[in-house]
Assembly symmetry: C2
Homo-oligomer: 430 residues x 2
């Protein structure tokens, strides 16, 4: 007989069904056992009467064992969901150790167990329905992003993780023992996306891990995280890149709300507010929030400007753009020739930076000059600079951290909670 | 004015259009210049007359420079595609060095340049339309796989690359300097997929890089490649895993043929032929193909059995299953208790292994016993074995190498040609 998911039990009243899942709770009385079964779609109450041949087996079950039940569905007002199953037979598929290291409860468990212990037993932690849901929502969000990429003829590429020289500064890069030499783990797929532009692919996206050897202990930094990256050719400025990113986000949010209408987000209106760094600093000054840093925003300033935009424009997103050259990479195109401002933008969502985007400098002479002005050694950049030597369209792109996005969508306290198996300075397991 | 793609020029006869792309070829005569422009959709002939203000600029162009052209479309029987653009203005976006390290031709270029040199200049190599197409087809294939995952409620997860202990044997694993200790790069996301089953996710897929420190110099091995992985719960045997994989492949092939009907593949009929290793060896013996290895197939045997299946069943795919325990991992479930055969299957496509799949052993006592029988040390497996200690549904899954798939779909000579930026023992650049 075909298995029925718990969420569909209500459609089978009076029928015999087969259900499978974890023993969520078990209440044994002398003549009856109430067993709540949990599968990926939810929980269902089952009842084993003393007359059932399954009674003795059910009595000896441990919490979190995995079983298959056959039984008849009936309406039951007092049961969660309004239905229950009267068990005729029960098969044990996996016996759980009776001593669980952390509890599995439907809600509120995080207050009961310290985060480090929960992450040591991440596979049990994730059984809580609200934790499983984090990854269902991630799946939906990515599906929405991909709909945009699909509808706009993007080509998907997979960048390598191994590099022969560290990208950019060489700081914060992991070193790998690579046969008789060293390799480095990519801190960003950006150079490879740009290579795709030099190959004439015009529009590409990449979904790939990003590695950062940062000794950070914040709520938003990991040593390894998934990046969603895109790059597009023939842009006129960074505004075209912002337009594209808005399209992706709208598509992603629409998909999340389609599948999970209860999610506390809104499909953002386009265009998103765009504020230059100079304007942002003026606004922050008027709000009495100042960091002392002239050309960048502190986390406090990010939150304050987001709150301001929410109040003034009723928008959860804001682009901060036209960064000073001192806060721009050598590959960021300047606003105009000779300007001290660049075509860089950061996207803040609910007070947190989720993206950096830019139009890149594709002219090899200016690119080289800007690298030299930053005091960079050209030798390790040779491969990169060569990408632009044999023709390359003007282009720009963005890198998006889906973990941070999910963290803000679900109001999670830490990006680790939005990561399947977080890795940081201290944690490499399970 | 909005840019028109080269493929859409025919819809604009008599109209003024803007097109952008690379200077593919340039034929300068005293009174007229023929310039073929290449974009991601194809090539178009443009004509610059001596009377045009663009004439002097066009005359000085180098091959592969990137330009934007404005001009009027007209029918032209002798032009490729049957249309040409009469140029009124021309803007140079990027100047290519006149000395190209490798040529960019529409077809047949691979005979002209040795592979190592082509890969040194991979971004130019990929400009050839038939190379760009490899990645368009990959994008379509993955889109088809994702349709299956989407329609069947799979959850997408991202596995970590960093591990605290080497998975499985410890051989062929890359070591990373991780702050004050060592980390290891995942050789497979399998353990993390299985963890998802222990978390009750029931159906998951992962798209992630896989790292193998193998000193292989074959046409089908890389040190880093993209893996498509899935895992499903409540399977009755490895046949359920094969059923699921067939569904994915059918969906992927349908998508490729929808977007690129000229591709030389067929949507395979279901079920795919399934032959046990014992049967396969009998067939091979009758064909006079023998490797001397009793329990595994040599590359020659893989080709021979595929040819046999093609001839007998007119099918490009064949599952070889029920492997001997000596060729099964400790985590492969045995066919029956005490059997020397396991629930492992390999999928061959056009003579090449593209997948290994199995039902896993989810019972902690048998799993431990099987690891001990293989002479494995249990300490590094502790985290993994613990996944099954607190309840875990029976499950199985597969790992698919999309690079190998694409290689066989397009009949490429080497998996490197199906890889954006291949990495092997010798190659870490560009």
């Amino acid at each position: 007989m075909k298995r029925t998911y718990n969420k569909d039990i209500g459609e089978q009243v009076g029928q015999e069904v087969v259900v499978s899942g974890f023993v969520h709770t078990l209440r044994v009385q002398s003549k009856i056992i109430f067993l709540i079964l949990r599968d990926v779609t939810g929980v269902i109450q089952t009842v084993v009467e003393a007359s059932s041949p399954a009674f003795e087996t059910a009595k000896g079950l441990s919490h979190e064992s995995v079983i298959t039940i056959t039984g008849r569905v009936k309406e039951a007002k007092q049961a969660p969901g309004g239905f229950e199953i009267n068990v005729s037979s029960l098969e044990v598929l996996s016996v759980a150790d009776p001593e669980l290291p952390i509890p599995v409860v439907v809600k509120g468990s995080d207050e009961e167990t310290e985060a480090p212990t929960r992450f040591d037993y991440r596979w049990i932690d994730l059984r809580k329905p609200e934790k499983t849901k984090i990854f269902k929502i991630w799946t939906a969000l990515e599906k929405g992003f991909r709909k945009y990429w699909d509808n706009n003829n993007f080509i998907q590429l997979y960048p390598p993780a191994f590099m022969s020289t560290p990208s950019e500064t060489g700081a914060e890069v992991f070193t790998v023992n690579y046969f008789d030499r060293k390799a480095y783990l990519a801190q960003s797929p950006q150079f490879y996306k740009q290579m795709g532009m030099a190959s004439g692919f015009e529009k590409v996206f990449m979904v790939a891990p990003v590695f950062r050897a940062e000794e950070s202990f914040t709520t938003r930094h990991l040593t390894e995280f998934t990046g969603w990256d895109f790059e597009i050719s023939y842009v006129n400025s960074h505004h075209d890149v912002m337009d594209a990113e808005e399209g992706m986000i709208v598509s992603g949010f629409e998909q999340v709300l389609k599948e999970f209408p209860e999610t506390k987000i809104e499909v953002p209106s386009q265009p998103f507010p765009r504020i230059t760094m100079l304007e942002a600093k003026k606004i922050l000054k008027s709000l009495g929030v100042e960091s002392g840093e002239e050309h960048d925003l502190s986390p406090e300033e990010e939150r304050a400007i987001s709150e301001y935009v929410k109040k003034e424009h009723n928008h959860d997103f804001v682009f901060i753009h036209e960064y000073h050259k001192s806060k721009s990479a050598f590959y960021h195109m300047r606003l105009e020739e000779g300007s001290d401002r660049s075509r860089r933008a950061d996207l803040l969502y609910r007070g947190l930076e989720v993206t950096t985007l830019a139009q890149r400098e594709h002219r090899v002479d200016i690119l080289t000059k800007q690298a030299e002005e930053k005091g960079m050694s050209l030798e390790p950049l040779k491969d990169y600079i060569n990408f632009f030597r044999y023709g390359c369209p003007p282009h720009g792109g963005a890198g998006i951290g889906p973990g941070r996005f999910i963290m803000k969508i679900l109001d999670l306290p830490n990006v680790r909670e939005a990561t399947y198996l977080p890795r940081d300075v201290k944690r490499l397991n399970p």
